[in-house]
C-alpha cells in the first residue's frame, strides 16, 4: 500500500513535470534579451522609435588604430578592413564623391556665417574674405576660380570640419573605422558576442608592436561584461557547490542526498518557467538572472527536511517559511514593474513546486538521517555581531543613491582608454546626448524639417549634429543660389581677375539642384532610423512643443530612480505583511520575535553596504527584498525546531559564501547586489542565532 502511494506520487509529479516542461516549449513566446524593454515602462517602449533608436546607438563597434608611424598605421588599418570586410559592414567615410556633388553646383552650398552675411547684404565683407583667400598661398580651391571667385565652396567645406577631432596627439597617429553589427545587436547582446569574439581574433592577429588596435562601443562592453560575469558566476558556482558537497558530506557522510535536492530544483525551475510563460509569454533574461536566487532558497527547504522532518510542526514551519519568503515577492508583483513582476512570479511558483516536491516526494526516497549536526560557535557569532554593529555605527547613517545607468558598470582599463580615445577622435560625440526625432514624407521633407529644427537650435545656441549640415534641401539650395546671385549682381564687377565673359557666364548660370538620396542611404544613415524618420543629436534639449526628443541615458536613469523610490516605499509594506501573516500563525509575541530582528537587520545592512560601496542603487533595494525572502526561514525554523540549527547553518554557509565571492566580481552590478545580500544574510543569520539561542 505504502509502495503504491509512493508510486502514485512519483507518477503524478512526473506527469505534472512533463506537462509543465512541454507547455513551456509550446506556449508562444521566447526569451527576451531586450534590456531596454526590461527597464523602460511599456508606454515609452511602445513608441515605435525608441527601440530602434536604442539599437542604433548600441550596435556600432569603433576600431581605433594607434601608432607612432602613420604609414604603419595605414597598412594595419587596410589589413584590418580587408579581414573584417568579410563579416562586418564597414561604415563608408569617404566623402570625396560628396565633394564632387557639391562642386557640380557650388552656388547651392553656403556656410552659416556666409549665408548670414549674404542675407544682410554685407557683400564687401564677403569680397574682403575672398581677397584674403586669394592671397593665401596654401589656399585649396575645390572648383576653378572662374566658377567660384569668392571661394564660397571652400568656406562651406571648412565650416563642416570642426566636427572631426584631431588625428595626431600625444606624439601618436590615430585613425578610426566604424563597423556596423547586425540590426538587433544593440538589443540582444548575445547575438553580437559571437561577432565581437571574431573581431577580437582579427585584432589580435593583426596588431603588432608598432600599431595598437582598440575596440570600443556598446557591443564590445557587453561582450567583456558578459564574459567576466560568466567567469565569475561559473567560478563561484563551482566553489559554492564544492562547499555544499563538503557540508553535506560532513553531515551525512555520503553524497546521495544531493540527487533529490537536485531533482527538487529542476522541478521548481521548470514550474517557475511554466508560470512565467502562462503569465507573460515572453521571459526577460534579466528576470531569470535574479531568479537564480531560487537555487539558494530551494536548497534550504531540502536541508530543513533532512534535519527536521521527524519533528512535530515541521510542515507548519516549512509552510510558514514558504509564505514569509513569498510575501516580499508578491509585493514585487504589485509594483507593476515588468522585471520585478517576472522575478516575483518565477520565485513564488518555483518555491511552491519545491515545497510540494520536498513534502510529497522526498519521503519516497530512501534517505539517510544526518550523522553530524553542524553548529556555529556562539562566541564567534557574538564577535561578528559586535563588529557589524560597530560598522553600522561608523557608517554615520548616511545614505547615497546613484541611479545613473553608467554607475552600474565600470569598464576595464583598456576599454576605458579606447572610449577616451574615441571621445577625442570624435570631438566629444558623447556630449550630444539629446536626440530629436523628426518624421517626414520623403527625404526632401525630412531635410527641410531638419533645417528648420537646426535653425531653432542655432537661435538657442545649442550645439548639434544634423544631416542638414551636410545635405541641403532643394528649397535651401534655391535660396543659397539666389543669395549668391545677389552677390554676383552687386559685386562681381569688382573681381578684376575674371574676364567680362566669365563674369557674364557666372551671372547667367541657371539653378541646378543637387540630389543626395544615394548618400543619405549610405554615408548619412547614422542620422536616420528609417526612410521617414531622422534624428538630430544635440547637447541640450530644445524643449519645444510638438518636437519629440529623448535622452536615452537620462530617461533610463530616471526610470531606475522612480523604481528605486517606489520599492523603498513598499519595503515597509512587505515587512508589515510578514508580521501580520506570522501573527496569524504564531502568537503575537512570537511573530514579533521572528519579524522584528528580520526587519531591523535591514537597517544596518543598508548603511554598511552604502559605506562600503559608497552608493546604493535600485538593485541594492531589490536585494533587501531578497534578504527578507532568503532569511525568513532562518527565524521561522529556529522558533520551534530542535534540529533546525544545522539546516539553517548549512543554508547560511552556502548562500552567504556565494554572495561573498560574487561581491568581488568585476561586474559592478553583480558585486553591488552581492555585497548587500552578503551583509544582509550574515546579519540576519547572526541575529537569528542570538535571538533564538536555544
Amino acid at each position: 500500500m505504502v509502495q503504491k502511494v509512493k508510486f502514485l506520487r512519483v507518477f503524478v509529479f512526473l506527469i505534472v513535470f512533463i506537462v509543465m516542461l512541454v507547455s513551456s516549449f509550446l506556449i508562444k513566446g521566447g526569451f527576451e534579451g531586450n534590456l531596454i524593454k526590461t527597464i523602460m515602462p511599456s508606454d515609452i517602449t511602445k513608441n515605435e522609435d525608441v527601440i530602434p533608436l536604442y539599437n542604433k546607438f548600441n550596435s556600432d563597434v569603433r576600431v581605433i588604430f594607434e601608432s607612432k608611424n602613420e604609414e604603419d598605421l595605414k597598412k594595419v588599418k587596410e589589413k584590418f578592413i580587408l579581414e573584417a570586410n568579410e563579416k562586418f559592414l564597414i561604415k563608408d567615410n569617404d566623402f570625396s564623391n560628396l565633394i564632387k556633388k557639391y562642386s557640380s553646383s557650388p552656388t547651392n552650398f553656403l556656410s552659416k556665417k556666409t549665408k548670414k552675411l549674404l542675407k544682410d547684404k554685407k557683400y564687401d565683407e564677403i569680397y574682403n574674405n575672398a581677397l584674403m583667400e586669394l592671397y593665401n598661398p596654401f589656399n585649396i580651391q575645390i572648383v576653378p576660380y572662374d566658377k567660384d571667385p569668392y571661394f564660397l565652396l571652400s568656406d562651406f567645406l571648412l565650416s563642416l570640419k570642426p566636427d572631426y577631432g584631431d588625428k595626431f596627439f600625444d606624439d601618436k597617429y590615430y585613425d578610426c573605422i566604424v563597423l556596423k553589427l547586425s540590426d538587433n545587436s544593440g538589443l540582444a547582446p548575445d547575438n553580437s558576442n559571437i561577432l565581437i569574439e571574431d573581431l577580437i581574433k582579427i585584432k589580435e592577429r593583426i596588431e603588432n608592436d608598432d600599431v595598437a588596435i582598440y575596440l570600443s562601443g556598446s557591443p564590445v562592453h557587453s561582450y567583456y561584461t558578459s564574459k567576466s560575469a560568466k567567469f565569475d558566476i561559473n567560478l563561484i558556482c563551482i566553489l559554492s557547490t564544492l562547499l555544499t558537497f563538503i557540508l553535506t558530506y560532513l553531515s551525512f557522510k555520503n553524497l546521495k542526498i544531493i540527487i533529490p535536492v537536485f531533482l527538487s530544483l529542476i522541478f521548481g525551475i521548470t514550474g517557475g518557467i511554466f508560470a512565467l510563460k502562462i503569465f507573460f509569454g515572453n521571459i526577460q533574461l534579466l528576470a531569470l538572472v535574479f531568479a537564480t536566487a531560487i537555487i539558494g532558497l530551494g536548497v534550504d527547504y531540502s536541508f530543513h527536511y533532512f534535519f527536521s522532518k521527524n519533528e512535530k510542526g515541521f510542515i507548519k514551519n516549512l509552510t510558514t517559511s514558504l509564505i514569509s519568503t513569498a510575501i516580499p515577492f508578491i509585493i514585487f508583483y504589485m509594483t507593476g514593474i515588468e522585471l520585478l513582476r517576472e522575478i516575483a512570479v518565477f520565485i513564488v511558483f518555483a518555491l511552491i513546486c519545491i515545497y510540494l516536491f520536498v513534502l510529497f516526494l522526498f519521503p519516497c526516497f530512501k534517505l539517510d538521517d544526518p550523522v553530524t549536526f553542524l553548529k556555529p560557535n556562539l562566541k564567534f557569532l557574538k564577535i561578528i555581531f559586535f563588529a557589524l554593529t560597530l560598522l553600522f555605527l561608523f557608517s554615520g547613517f548616511k545614505l547615497k543613491f546613484n541611479d545613473c545607468l553608467t554607475s552600474f558598470y565600470v569598464p576595464n582599463y583598456e576599454l576605458m582608454k579606447s572610449e577616451k580615445l574615441y571621445e577625442r577622435l570624435s570631438n566629444g560625440l558623447s556630449d550630444y546626448k539629446n536626440i530629436i526625432i523628426l518624421k517626414g514624407e520623403n527625404y526632401e521633407d525630412i531635410i527641410q524639417k531638419n533645417e528648420k529644427v537646426s535653425s531653432l537650435l542655432d537661435t538657442k545656441e545649442i550645439k548639434y549634429l544634423s544631416v542638414s549640415d551636410f545635405v541641403k534641401s532643394e528649397n535651401t539650395q534655391i535660396e543659397n543660389y539666389n543669395f549668391v546671385h545677389g552677390l554676383y549682381n552687386s559685386n562681381l564687377d569688382k573681381i578684376e581677375l575674371l574676364t567680362k565673359e566669365q563674369k557674364q557666364n557666372l551671372k547667367n548660370e541657371t539653378f541646378k539642384p543637387v540630389e543626395f538620396s544615394a548618400e543619405l542611404k549610405t554615408k548619412f544613415d547614422d542620422f536616420f532610423l528609417n526612410d521617414k524618420t531622422s534624428i538630430i543629436l544635440s547637447k541640450e534639449p530644445l524643449n519645444i512643443n510638438g518636437i519629440f526628443e529623448i535622452n536615452l541615458t537620462a530617461e533610463i536613469s530616471k526610470f531606475l530612480k522612480s523604481y528605486r523610490v517606489k520599492l523603498l516605499k513598499i519595503l515597509p509594506l512587505a515587512c508589515l505583511c510578514i508580521f501580520f501573516v506570522l501573527s496569524f500563525i504564531y502568537k503575537i509575541k512570537t511573530a514579533f520575535k521572528i519579524s522584528l530582528p528580520l526587519i531591523l537587520g535591514l537597517f544596518p545592512t543598508v548603511f554598511i553596504s552604502c559605506m562600503i560601496a559608497r552608493e546604493l542603487n535600485l538593485f541594492s533595494i531589490i536585494s533587501l527584498f531578497l534578504i527578507l525572502g532568503f532569511t525568513a526561514d532562518y527565524f521561522v525554523f529556529k522558533t520551534d525546531s530542535k534540529n533546525s540549527s544545522s539546516a539553517v547553518f548549512i543554508s547560511f554557509c552556502t548562500t552567504s559564501f556565494s554572495f561573498l565571492l560574487l561581491s568581488f566580481s568585476s561586474f559592478k552590478l553583480l558585486s553591488s547586489i552581492s555585497l548587500v545580500l552578503f551583509i544582509g544574510i550574515l546579519f540576519s543569520y547572526v541575529l537569528s542565532c542570538l535571538v533564538f539561542k536555544k
Binding site: 604609414e71 585649396i140 576660380y145
Partner: protein
Amino acid sequence: MKFLRLFFVFLLFLFSKAFANVFDYPSSASKINNELKLSDVRLRFEQKRTFKNVDKPVVSSGDFVFLKDRGAYFYTKFPVEATLEYTRQTNKQANDIINAVMRGQFDKIENVFALFYYKENSKWKLGLKPKNNAQAAEYLSDMQIYGENYITQIIINFKNGNKTEIWFKK
C-alpha cells in the same frame, strides 16, 4: 673644335647639377632633419599665384615671419593689407608643413609626403609629393622649396592646375 665640344659638355654637366630636378633625389626624414637647420626668421616675400582659366596672375608682397614657438605669419602689404597665420590653431595642415621645414621635423610629415632632397654647397632643394593614399594627394601635386641659410623660394603646384610661387629675400 674638339676643345669647344668638350667645353660645351662640361658646361652642360655643370648646368645639369645646377638645374637638377629635386624629384630625382628621394630622401628620408632623418637625413633631411640632420642637414637642414633653419632658425627664426623675418623676410620679405613676393608671391605669384596663377589660377586655371584665369589669364592674369595674382601678385602680392609683404613680410614673412617664422617663430619656432608660435608659427608662421604672412603679413601681406601689397595690393591689400592682410595677415595670414599658420599656427597650431589656424591652417593647421599648412602649419605642419611649414613647421616641419623650419624646425627640421620631417618625420612628422614623412607619412603624408614622399620626401626629396638635394644639396650642393650651401644651396639646397627640397621636394614634397603627397603619397597616393594621403588626403593631400587629392588637391596637391607637389611642393618645392629652395634655400640657403633661409628659404629663398617655394613653389606649390595644385592638382587643378593652380600654382603658387613665393620668393623670399632678407
